[in-house]
């Protein structure tokens, strides 16, 4: 059964990649993630159903929807973190810069080096602030102390936290406040200079002030990075994103410019959700 699915997937991969090379020449790499007919099962639960999404480079794409709609599952599929759950199966393709990341031959470590992730709860390593930032670069073979120092400063500046921590780089990251920890995690992701940053409800565990800081940061980051943000907070999606996808029961109900979604949704379910009638 699963081999059948795999075969099917591989067939799709080939045709997909051909298409993608054509598409790439036409669109000159504007699309960073192109999801086609993605289905995902957790054992027997069909969590994602026929997802088709094109995510643009250097934009903020928000994914909204009620709990259990598959939005977190989807974002975790984009860097294949979803595979950590035992019994996950997928069909369909996700082309990242033209290459299908769901293909077995795609090295997941390479993918995750280019696609950083920030989690719902801040999860710094129980090491010093400095070591948290240098973790990624060191894993990927950067050992030069001078370069590492530079990376640390740039990443922390990039995540708006340098001024707060520059005098205590050797202190344990767990001495920071929740909001600072989350910005440290963003800085940690920036340290390997990824192309994409995935954020899975990055502000849901934070107070309003810290949330605001991270929202400002996201606006700044999109100049250089493509950002995909899962949020349960619709105002947040409206404030910070360029495009919004509304997920419901594992399907994409609507995907459009954020402005359109929030002012003139074409699907009545989207309207019900954003006006707070359910969710």
């Amino acid at each position: 059964m699963s081999t059948l699915a795999n075969n099917k997937m591989k067939v799709q991969v080939k045709s997909k990649q051909d298409e993608e090379t054509e598409a790439a020449t036409v669109e000159s790499g504007k699309i960073v993630y192109d999801t086609k007919d993605l289905n995902l099962w957790y054992s027997e639960t069909h969590a994602l159903k026929d997802i088709n999404l094109e995510i643009n480079e250097k934009e903020v794409t928000a994914i909204i929807g009620p709990s259990g709609c598959g939005k977190s599952t989807y974002i975790k599929t984009l860097n294949r973190m979803v595979e950590l759950v035992p019994g996950v199966r997928t069909t369909g393709t996700i082309a990242y810069k033209g290459k299908n990341i769901l293909d077995r031959s795609f090295k997941v470590e390479d993918l995750r080096t280019q696609v950083g992730m920030v989690f719902q709860k801040p999860n710094p390593f129980p090491k010093s602030i400095y070591e948290n930032i240098t973790y990624g670069p060191k894993i990927h073979g950067i050992r030069n102390k001078k370069i590492l120092d530079e990376i640390v400063e740039n990443s922390l500046r990039g995540a708006y936290i340098w001024d707060e921590v520059k005098d205590r780089l050797n202190e344990n990251a767990y001495g920071l406040s929740g909001g600072q920890q989350q910005r440290l995690c963003i800085a940690r992701a920036l340290a390997v200079q990824p192309d994409v940053i995935l954020m899975d409800e990055p502000t849901s565990a934070l107070d309003p002030k810290s949330t605001l800081k991270i929202e400002e940061l996201v606006q700044d980051l999109k100049k250089e990075y493509s950002l995909i943000i899962v949020t349960h907070n619709m105002q947040q999606a409206a404030r910070i994103s360029d495009k919004t996808a509304f997920f419901l029961n594992g399907e994409v109900v609507e995907y459009d410019k954020t402005n359109t979604i929030f002012t003139n949704p074409s699907d009545s379910r989207t309207e019900d959700y954003i006006s707070g009638r359910f969710g």
Partner: protein
């Protein structure tokens, strides 16, 4: 109407019952106040026992040191308690204890830690559910069984490979002691590693780290204090282990670093002397207490060291 009155009646009864029970409560209130005192007394049994042991050891050891100078005891390399001119040098016993412990930890440390890594990071739930209890069975085998396993099974094998090894030697019980300690280190280290939050593994994997990098650079450092604690407990166990060395290492009080020879540990000496006929009040009788006190100081030091190390290297999360 009738339902209503019934309900009312019931309500009255309940409040009356509660009021009556409240009167009885005086006794249970007393009980409530006594409980902490009783629990405190029970808890202090451990402390009192420790103090009692310490008192016995000290008072008798002092008796010993009146006859044999402390300096001679701790620096003497000859131990001949039963000879005409008895000599009480502790170094052969300390040497035997340390060497057997080192051999044991060479076996138990790496194998225990690797097993823990496998169980906590790589094994599927099913494999873990089968393997962990099996590992703990190993910990439940009586040490005397390990002792004759070392003497009748492991020693002949070692001697077949390495003929210079004597029939009683420190190598074989050291190795078997290591095997005995594996489950302890594996199980405690595994607990420490499993309790590292998954969010940290995810954080590392999401940076593009492999599973091995994640294990070595995030999980093990985060669990380091627990792992060190398991090692130190393993060392304590090896220092205190008695039966295996008594059976398989003989009772030669050699002061040597040659692991092919028979050596005696502090524990084995206590068994030998206590099992023989050491008349109460004789020097050899008091020497038991001096050795036991040294043993106590050894394990106490290990425990304090463990605390210091685990506090110093703790990665708090």
């Amino acid at each position: 109407m009738s339902k209503n009155s019934e309900a009312k009646k019931e309500a009255v009864n309940v409040s009356e019952m509660i009021a009556q029970n409240k009167k009885k409560k005086n006794i249970s209130n007393l009980f409530e106040k006594l409980i902490p005192t009783i629990l405190f007394l029970l808890a202090s049994i451990t402390i009192l026992t420790t103090l009692g042991i310490l008192y016995t050891l000290l008072s008798q050891a002092i008796e010993f040191f009146k006859r044999v100078p402390i300096w001679e005891f701790f620096t003497g390399t000859v131990l001949k308690p039963l000879s005409q001119n008895p000599e009480f040098g502790l170094l052969p016993l300390i040497n035997g204890t340390i060497i057997s412990t080192i051999i044991a930890m060479f076996v138990a440390g790496p194998i225990g830690l690797m097993s823990a890594i496998y169980l906590s990071e790589y094994a599927s739930d099913r494999v873990r559910r089968i393997l962990k209890p099996l590992l703990e069975i190993l910990a439940g085998i009586p040490t005397i069984v390990y002792g004759f396993f070392a003497f009748t099974f492991v020693t002949p094998i070692i001697r077949a490979i390495w003929p210079e090894v004597e029939a009683t030697n420190i190598l074989s019980p050291g190795l078997v002691m290591g095997v005995m300690i594996i489950p302890m280190i594996a199980s405690l280290s595994e607990d420490a590693m499993t309790s590292v939050p998954n969010a940290m593994r995810e954080g590392s994997l999401a940076m593009g780290a492999t599973k091995l990098e994640t294990t070595l650079k995030v999980v093990i450092p985060a669990a380091f204090s627990g792992i060190i604690a398991s090692f130190v407990l393993g060392i304590s166990r090896a220092i205190g282990e008695t039966m295996i060395v008594t059976i398989a290492s003989g009772s030669s009080k050699n002061f040597t670093f040659d692991i092919t020879q028979s050596m005696q540990t502090m524990t084995a000496y206590i068994v030998e002397v206590a099992g023989g006929e050491a008349p109460a009040g004789s020097t050899i009788y008091y020497s038991l207490y001096a050795v036991a006190l040294t043993l106590f100081v050894f394990t106490l030091t290990m425990n304090l060291l463990a605390r210091y190390i685990s506090r110093k290297f703790r990665e708090e999360y």
